[in-house]
């Protein structure tokens, strides 16, 4: 199934070619990443139509901004960061809310939540995360795994920003309580 | 009219083929009678708009703004056909341009195209949204034999899922793909039936003789010097198997022929 490992260096090389306007390189990059990005977006939005549009927007954005890509972090993570925000755009369009400028947080900066998350699901606290209520899990995934701001998470989940914040606090307390 | 299949409208030039097709396409009001498409009365709203959602129309002499590009004019008509989502619409435009083999010219201005290519663009816009009723006025005009063959193939394929009404004055063309034939002459419907039925109209009326006939309605000289004629038999003639063209000529050459339906 998986023949040989595709490395980030290959992705970087593709991005460099895309930045020079190479359509074939875009297609290759798409073939490498579109599958998992689609699967991962689908876990955050049940409407295939919105997922498809977000996926298309993602690679159109990759085409336009390949030049701006800084060699920090993984290309895959960069693509995912674009994808989840394009999905949020789609969710917003469906339910119109006042548009404001999104602060683009890079997914590579490890936040407190992310560290907590790594410990939680990787280590012995997996059970603690699994015990959380689904809505608390959701906000943790949106903020810690996807690296979204509370505003973005609110749009993705279709709940008010304040609710995201309170749920996040509750999730943090519950997880901390189980820490040794 | 039955759903599905290719219906060919035959008739002499100026016989009212275009008027009939324009009325069918809801572009013009019929001088008499009413047009119903899928049970919708096209003379009243909101039935007419609903009917128009199901129609694709290729006019006889299609024209577009000369400075616009191929993609633009088809995209514009796609908007008129209520394809609102920009990206899906562009996919659909691409699909119909592919179908008429004009994808490579998508970015070219209309003014740079030959007449045949403009007709193909117009055919492409008729295919937008895969309408249930396609009204194509002389789609074979200006095509070379090879392109005509591909058109024939396309019409047959389309006829599997839609009713395709095609006007032509090429009887061979009609015989090749039609499931039904209409003959109009002088603004009147003269025949409505299958190609075989039209052919059978000439059964027993087509002759070949060595002498030039005097009484025949239509006659022409064959390469071997004999004469082929339609109508009453000349002396020393023998009957031959008629073609659909014979049936058609038989019909339009007979002013007394009754309206058949």
């Amino acid at each position: 199934m998986v023949e040989q490992e595709w490395t980030d260096a290959d992705d970087q090389a593709l991005l460099a070619r895309i930045a020079r306007g190479d359509r074939a390189a875009l297609e290759t990059l798409y073939r490498v990443h579109a599958g998992w990005v689609t699967a991962r977006l689908s876990r955050r939005c049940g409407e295939a139509e919105l997922v498809d549009t977000a996926l298309q927007d993602t690679f159109l954005a990759v085409w336009k901004s390949a030049k701006k890509y800084k060699r920090e972090g993984d290309v895959g993570a960069w693509i995912w960061g674009i994808a989840v925000r394009r999905l949020i755009d789609q969710m917003r369009k469906r339910k119109p809310t006042p548009m404001d400028v999104l602060p683009l947080r890079t997914t590579s900066t490890a936040s407190a939540e992310q560290e907590l998350m790594d410990v939680a699901v990787g280590g012995e606290l997996g059970a603690a995360f699994a015990d959380l209520e689904p809505e608390l899990q959701q906000v943790l995934v949106a903020t810690a795994v996807d690296g979204l701001s509370t505003k973005e998470a609110a749009d993705l989940l279709g709940i008010p920003q304040g609710t995201v914040k309170t749920r996040l606090m509750r999730a943090r307390e519950r997880m901390r309580a189980t820490l040794p | 009219m039955p759903l599905g299949g290719v219906v060919t409208v035959l008739g002499p030039n100026g016989a009212g083929k275009t008027t009939l097709l324009r009325s069918l396409a809801t572009v013009q009001k019929p001088s008499s009678g009413a047009i119903h498409i899928d049970g919708l009365d096209v003379s009243i709203e909101p039935d007419r708009t609903e009917a128009r959602r199901r129609i694709g129309y290729l006019p006889q002499d299609p024209e577009f703004a000369p400075r616009a590009t191929v993609f633009d004019v088809v995209d514009y008509l796609a908007i008129c056909k209520e394809h609102r989502d920009r990206r899906r619409r562009h996919l659909e435009v691409r699909r119909v341009l592919d179908a008429v083999e004009m994808t490579d010219r998508a970015g070219d201005r209309i003014a740079s195209l030959s007449g045949g290519m403009v007709r193909r663009v117009a055919l492409a816009q008729a295919l937008l949204g895969s309408p249930r009723l396609l009204v194509l006025d002389e789609p074979a005009a200006g095509l070379d034999p090879d392109q005509r063959l591909r058109l024939r193939d396309m019409l047959s394929t389309l006829g599997e899922r839609a009713t395709v009404v095609v006007s032509t004055h090429l009887t061979d063309e009609a015989a090749a793909v039609s499931s039904a034939v209409l003959v109009v002459d002088g603004g009147v419907l003269r025949f409505h039936g299958s190609p075989a039925q039209l052919t059978s109209r000439a059964q027993g009326h087509v002759w070949v003789s060595a002498q030039p006939p005097v009484v025949a309605r239509r006659t022409w000289r064959l390469p071997d010097g004999s004469h082929r004629c339609i109508g009453d038999p000349p002396p020393d003639a023998h009957l031959v198997t008629p073609t659909m063209e014979d049936g058609y000529l038989m019909l339009v050459s007979d002013p007394a022929a009754a309206v058949a339906a």
Binding site: M1, V2, W6, D8, R23, R31, V32, H33, A34, G35, W36, A39, S42, R43, D52, Q56, L60, W63, G76, M117, G122, G123, A130, V141, V145 | R22, A25, V27, K29, E45, T49, E50, R52, I55, G56, Y57, E63, F64, A65, T69, F71, D72, D75, Y76, L77, I79, C80, K81, E82, H83, R87, R88, H90, L91, V93, R94, A106, G107, A126, V135
Partner: protein, 274 residues
């Protein structure tokens, strides 16, 4: 920390949405770290879906850029498809903008150099601009693909209205700009042509339900010029644009508007406005 071992079954369950959030997070973290995990998950998304999405991307990259007018309209909040319907007319092109702006600008410039009385010339000419615009905005005479458009579900009446609004709006904007540039000290009377413009435009549309749009525009302009000349000689230049006259234009516009709406049916088949 230990990496999640490659597990085709887990990947399949992830991609088909069968994992709990806790399990899914493990897979996602594995994907963040491993290209092999991404590839594994990716194999469970149907190839046809990915192909179709890539085609959409390719078509989008090939699609022509929107025109400037359309971009302005979209920025003003119009839907993209409505903007295209409005903009797809020979009127909303640079040559039209230029012509209408020049007429308004020089009309006003000619007036601005003398006393207030001569602004009457500008006020008489300005309403003609949108009428000409409407005449050139819609119909078989200006759209060679008119027959094909008529056979679509889009309403010809709606198209005509959309474009008339666009034409009126640009005329008003240009007239306003010209007024600010040329005659900032003239005061409100430089705007006195706007209601007449509305009335003449509406009258043209009403007439266009009977005769071709171009003839309708010709008749309206002709009648207007005659009225302007006669009244201008009998009274002062500005009588036609005074406080008594303005409500009459409004009433005219309303009446003509009602006529248009009642007779809108004629715009839905070919042959009108030829």
């Amino acid at each position: 920390m230990t990496d999640l071992p490659l597990d085709p079954q887990l990947a399949q369950r992830y991609a088909t949405g069968q994992l709990s959030t806790a399990e899914a997070v493990q897979v996602e973290q594995a994907m963040d770290r491993s290209g092999q995990w991404r590839a594994l998950v990716g194999t469970h998304v149907p190839a046809e879906r990915l192909d179709l999405n890539f085609m959409a991307i390719a078509v989008e990259l090939d699609a022509p850029k929107r025109g400037r007018v359309e971009r302005v309209m979209v920025r003003l909040g119009l839907d993209e498809h409505v903007a295209r319907l409005m903009a797809a007319t020979p009127v909303l092109r640079r040559s039209w903008y230029l012509a209408s702006f020049l007429v308004l600008f020089f009309g006003l410039a000619a007036a601005g150099t003398e006393n207030t009385g001569s602004i009457g010339f500008f006020l008489a000419v300005a309403p003609i601009v949108p009428v000409l615009g409407v005449a050139l905005a819609y119909g078989p005479a200006v759209d060679p693909a008119h027959d094909m458009t008529v056979a679509t579900p889009v309403s010809g009446f709606r198209l005509l209205l959309l474009r008339s609004v666009a034409v009126l709006a640009t005329s008003v904007v240009f007239g306003g700009v010209a007024a600010v540039i040329v005659a900032p000290d003239h005061g409100l009377e430089v705007l006195a042509w706007m209601l007449p413009a509305l009335a003449l435009t509406a009258a043209t549309l009403a007439l266009a339900t009977v005769v071709p749009t171009r003839s309708a525009a010709g008749v309206t302009i002709g009648v207007w010029l005659v009225v302007v000349t006669i009244v201008g000689q009998a009274a002062t230049d500005l009588t036609l644009f005074g406080g008594i006259a303005q409500p009459i234009y409004l009433a005219l516009a309303v009446i003509a508007g009602i006529v248009v709406v009642m007779r809108r049916e004629v715009f839905e088949v070919a042959g009108v406005g030829a």
